[in-house]
């Protein structure tokens, strides 16, 4: 080994000695010189962040009735990390005695997977002061008894589908929400307004950073921001009207279950339904019912598995959590004839006053070379005799609209899809835009839809391998709202509202405003939902006749399909115009194992000449629209009349649609033959007595004397 190598090695050795000296010195410094200070910091070295949950905003109806509120509720939490494994049993036994909850239940709540394994678990909720006192007197380690704010729905199941409910955050949301300041134990909106307006309702949590020692004593506050309460959400619904609507819908369904179906000979199952009440002047939803329903308190406070299954997994009342008014897809049946009629007028295919002989069926003429089904029967194969557009609507002549839809099929060019275009113009096939989650689009059958369905689900839609061409029969079925048409109840209400108000299609508002509750902006509204107009439709000439036909549905004795439901109805100033529908439902009832019964549909507005409210009722497997759904609507209209008296609403400025007045030479105006064609309200022709006069007590615009003929 040469000298140079040795020198360098020595240098390396000295370097190592130096490094070790540094380590020793540093260890000496830390462990001897500054040990006391560091030991103290070890005791108090972590910052505890206390997050104060903001008060969640309330949900109220348009007049301030509280639908979702917060209450103080006593909870008991157990922090497992304070115990060695297996030592929690003793504590749980003690707790169980005090608060009368079985040990097994407490244990299962300790196993809760939704909160962090190290966080304290909630084992009991809803305690009163004495319960909390009893537990805190025991001063068990790791057991905490405290007040928390919890969500409560004071109106129980009223408007539950609209308001929604809160629940533990899902795995998917957790990361995002925790980052934006949520506590892991916090509950978030899972459905309805609670979900859509979660950011507004939640508010901003407060955050206090404390320097806390290992025994929990606070040494100092490092920083502090207080919580900002969430905003209140005011709905456009009225709680009383909502309650009435829900109860009428339920009663209607119960009544339907006591009715025997003529088709099958069984009682109607009437498993569910929906009803929508809208102000057609501005698109406000006044009530929206869906059946079967539930009490959101069950989901917040917790119910037993058995209770849960009986409500939410009940095969006889499926989909209790779904808001059928926006999520339910139904064939509209005859209520869709409004669309067909308007389409026929638009295409100038219908002469409103032309007579058509309804022989009880419609046969595709031979010259068209029919493929597939060629003969289409009326609902009960009953011939209605001579009808025109107005009476075809009033009496719901299928054959008339079969012919219209058939003839529209053979028009080539733009007009071929006249029904579909008119449906889309009135909002079918797309979301209405109401502020509720999970809204369905529905669909309006045309060639593309049929092709897509046949391709996607050949088993369900095309079991016999038929052609996917759009056939005359498809258009005919579409014309009476069957086949490839499916709509939501809110779309029905919205479309009829647009027709009744003269063509303005709104995006319905179910929320009126969001009102801040922060200190500096208390009571001022953050968001105002003004009427949102989607589009304004121009209706073709002759739509007055359609209107006339709809007027007759509820009032023309023995003619109108819903007249029996409105027998004895006090129509003074509140006459109803609407359309019934009895829609065949596809498929089989999974529980009863037989073909599904028809859905009953009824859509109407009132008052007839000064339209203000539209009501849509859909009842699944409940029979005829005129027999099952119309009575429900009738009671809702009665409730609406009471509602208007209680809450006179002068703010809505609205001009009812003006009738179309055809040009008739002055010389001819006095003659009966011409004047009968002139719509009421025109400056010439028969001056129809307005509603509430001696001649027209029911207010339908037709003198009562004439009606009784």
């Amino acid at each position: 080994m040469n000298e140079q190598l040795k020198r360098r090695l020595a240098f390396l050795g000295i370097l190592i000695v130096g490094l070790f000296a540094a380590l020793f010195t540093r260890a000496w410094y830390l462990q001897v010189l500054t040990s006391e200070e560091l030991a103290e910091r070890a005791l108090s070295n972590y910052v505890e962040i206390v997050i104060t949950q903001p008060t969640r905003g309330r949900i109220l109806d348009r007049h301030g009735v509280v639908l979702a509120d917060n209450i103080r509720s006593g909870v008991i939490t157990v922090n497992q990390s304070r115990y060695a494994p297996g030592q929690t049993d003793f504590v749980l036994e003690q707790l169980s005695e005090l608060i009368n909850i079985p040990v097994a239940t407490l244990k299962s709540r300790l196993q809760d997977q939704q909160t962090h394994p190290l966080a304290a678990k909630v084992v009991a909720t809803g305690l009163d002061e004495y319960g909390l006192l009893r537990v805190s007197e025991l001063s068990l380690p790791g057991v905490e008894a405290k007040w928390v704010m919890s969500r409560v729905y004071p109106q129980n199941e009223i408007a539950s589908h609209i308001v929604g409910y809160v629940g533990a955050m899902s795995q998917g949301q957790q990361d995002r929400l925790l980052q934006s300041g949520y506590l892991p134990s916090e509950r978030v909106g899972k459905s309805g307004i609670e979900q859509i307006f979660e950011p507004d309702l939640h508010g901003q949590p407060g955050r206090t950073e404390l320097e806390v020692d290992s025994t929990g004593r606070v040494h100092r506050i490092l920083s502090q921001t207080s919580a900002t309460p969430g905003s209140d959400v005011y709905l456009s619904i009225d709680a009383d009207l909502q309650a009435a609507t829900e109860s009428y819908l339920r009663q209607g369904l119960i009544a339907a279950r006591k009715t025997v179906s003529e088709d099958s000979g069984f009682f109607f199952p009437a498993i569910g339904g929906a009803a929508v009440v809208m102000d057609l002047r501005n698109g406000d939803v006044l009530a929206m019912a869906s059946h079967p329903t539930y009490d959101p308190n069950w989901l917040v406070a917790g119910i037993t598995t058995l209770e849960y299954q009986s409500v939410f997994e009940n095969p006889y009342a499926p989909g209790a959590l779904n808001n059928r008014a926006v999520q339910g897809l139904y064939s509209p049946g005859s209520v869709f004839k409004l669309i067909t009629a308007l389409a026929g007028l638009e295409a100038r295919l219908i002469s409103p006053r032309a007579a058509y002989y309804d022989v009880g069926y419609f046969q595709i003429p031979d010259k068209y070379g029919c493929t597939g089904r060629c003969t289409f029967y009326n609902a009960d194969k009953a011939p209605l005799g001579i009808v025109d557009l107005s009476s075809a609507i009033t009496r719901s002549s299928d054959a008339y609209f079969y012919k219209v839809a058939h003839d529209l099929y053979w028009i080539r060019g733009d007009e071929q899809w006249a029904i579909q275009d008119m449906a889309q113009l009135l909002g079918f096939g797309s979301q209405s835009g109401v502020q509720l989650p999970f809204e369905k689009h529905g669909r309006i059958g045309d060639g593309d839809v049929k092709k897509a369905l046949f391709e996607a689900k050949p088993d369900a839609y095309n079991p016999y391998g038929e052609s996917d061409q759009w056939l005359p029969g498809d258009n005919i079925n579409t014309g009476i709202g069957q086949g490839f048409v499916s709509v939501t109840p809110i779309q029905l209400a919205n479309a009829y509202a647009a027709f009744a108000n003269g063509g303005t299609l709104f995006s319905p508002n179910i929320v009126e405003k969001v009102v801040s509750r922060t200190e500096d902006r208390f009571g001022t509204s953050v968001i105002d939902f003004d009427p949102r107009i989607q589009r304004v439709a121009e209706f073709p000439e002759g739509s007055g006749v359609v209107r006339e036909g709809l007027h007759g549905v509820a009032s023309k004795a023995r003619r109108g399909t819903a007249w029996r439901a409105f027998e004895g109805y006090d129509a003074t100033g509140y006459a109803v115009a609407g359309k019934t529908g009895t829609a065949q439902a596809e498929g089989r009832n999974p529980v009863l194992q037989r073909k599904k019964e028809d859905s009953a549909v009824f859509v109407a507005w009132a008052p007839r000449h000064d339209p203000r409210y539209v009501v849509a009722v859909v009842m699944e497997e409940a029979g005829f629209g005129g027999e099952a759904a119309a009575p429900v609507a009738r009671r809702i209209f009665e409730a609406l009349r009471a509602y208007e008296q209680r809450w006179p609403d002068p703010q809505v400025a609205f001009i009812p649609p003006q009738p179309e007045c055809p040009e008739i030479p002055e010389a001819l105006r006095g003659y009966q033959a011409f004047t009968s064609y002139v719509p009421e309200g025109c400056p010439w022709g028969i001056q129809v007595p307005r509603a509430n006069t001696a001649e027209d007590v029911d207010g339908d615009g037709i003198p009562d004397l004439e009606e009784r003929n």
Partner: protein, 383 residues
């Protein structure tokens, strides 16, 4: 009565330095104890066997001891013949890990073998291969390093450095730098050459640090930059990068002179120091055994390094000398860097503390290197 034999003819194991092996095993025993104390609480809380980590570490130590004993018997000079092959194999392994390795903490540095509960870190084995290959290379040059030779040596280092940079693993890269610097310095590289390379190295590091600020690509990850910044300014981001530094110093300082006793350290038990069973194992020692324990550990390490230094000096074989220097540099750097980082005098880099940190590859490699040094000590009188 034994006849006096010529040194060459006696069994070389007569001259073997067994005390090194003993010290290594003592250190490993401390490591097992500390592995247990820094993990039992969390494991028990999670309902697992509290000794899971300790048991695994015992397994690693047993494998390590077996390898150490095995490495002692075969004449180390044979290793020289396979130095290049070993180097090549390990480089391939380093290359492979970039494609087939598993990712942990953002670094792709481990092979996962089916059926095993632990992973293999090729970079650890690369340390041995580089020590041996570099020693062989320098010994070939007979200790006369010209600039060209130095360049070749740097190339030998640059390959593993580049591959580990791609994982990336800053700490292990620095270990290779330390090995290279140690061996080349002792081997007789010109001071000015070393100085120039150091200057270039410093410039490269500064460039890496600021390349993204100067508009270039981001070479150092933000976490790495943060850790180094935190080292320079511990008040920077108290809950983030400085957290480790602060917590580990608090833990060590809280130990005081006598420590809080085994399994009694609050920082250790409450898991307040992250990575406590691996890179920050020294904090468990500091908190639970205090300055006394730290001194014992440092003295054991000092004894170990001193023995290696003497063996280096007394070896008659240049290859043996440089292999020892490599091992010496590696151990020194790892010990100083690791303990220094826990005490806040060096920046935080992920380097295991030899024999103490939990981990199969590092424990086995440390024992293997000690085996190599014992081997050299046994044959130091042979030329």
């Amino acid at each position: 009565m034994n006849l006096p034999l010529r040194k060459e003819l006696r069994s070389p194991l007569r001259y073997a330095d067994y005390s090194l092996g003993l010290v290594a095993m003592l250190l490993a025993a401390m490591g097992v104890a500390l592995n247990y104390s820094s993990t039992w609480r969390v494991l028990e809380f999670n309902g697992q066997d509290p000794a899971t980590y300790a048991k695994r570490q015992i397994l690693f130590v047993i494998i390590g001891i077996a390898i150490m004993i095995g490495a002692t018997f075969l004449d180390y000079r044979l290793y020289r013949d396979f130095a290049n092959q070993a180097y090549l194999v390990v480089m391939l392994a380093l290359l492979g890990v970039l494609f087939f390795g598993v990712e942990r903490n953002g670094a792709r540095a481990w092979y996962e073998l089916p059926g095993l509960t632990f992973q293999i870190q090729p970079a650890e084995f690369a340390k041995v291969a580089v020590v041996v290959a570099l020693a062989a290379f320098v010994a070939d040059k007979d200790g006369h390093l010209r600039l060209v030779t130095l360049g070749n040596a740097f190339l030998m280092l640059a390959v593993p450095l580049g591959l580990i940079y791609l994982q990336p693993d800053l700490g292990t890269m620095l270990v290779f730098v330390a090995i290279g610097m140690g061996v080349l310095l002792v081997a007789g590289a010109q001071i000015r050459h070393i100085a120039i390379t150091t200057l270039v190295g410093v410039l490269v590091v500064v460039g890496m640090f600021n390349s993204d600020d100067l508009g270039g690509p981001e070479i150092l990850r933000q976490t790495q930059e943060d850790r180094l910044t935190a080292f320079l300014d511990p008040t920077f981001d108290l809950q983030g990068a400085s957290y480790n530094i602060n917590q580990s110093q608090i833990a060590i300082g809280a130990g005081g002179i006598r420590g809080q006793g085994w399994l009694q350290g609050t920082q250790t038990n409450l898991n307040l120091v992250p990575e406590q069973e691996t890179d920050f194992i020294f904090t468990a020692l500091g908190e639970e055994f205090g300055f006394v324990g730290v001194s014992v550990l440092l003295l054991l390490y000092a004894y170990m390094l001193a023995r290696i230094w003497f063996i280096t000096r007394s070896s008659n074989d240049l290859f043996g000398t440089f292999a020892c220097v490599g091992a010496l540099s590696m151990f020194t750097f790892q010990i100083f860097q690791n303990i220094g980082m826990t005490m806040g005098i060096t920046p935080i880099t992920g380097i295991p503390l030899p024999f103490l940190s939990h981990g199969g590859s590092s424990t086995v490699v440390a024992f293997g290197l000690i085996g190599l040094v014992i081997n050299i000590s046994a044959r130091r009188h042979l030329a």
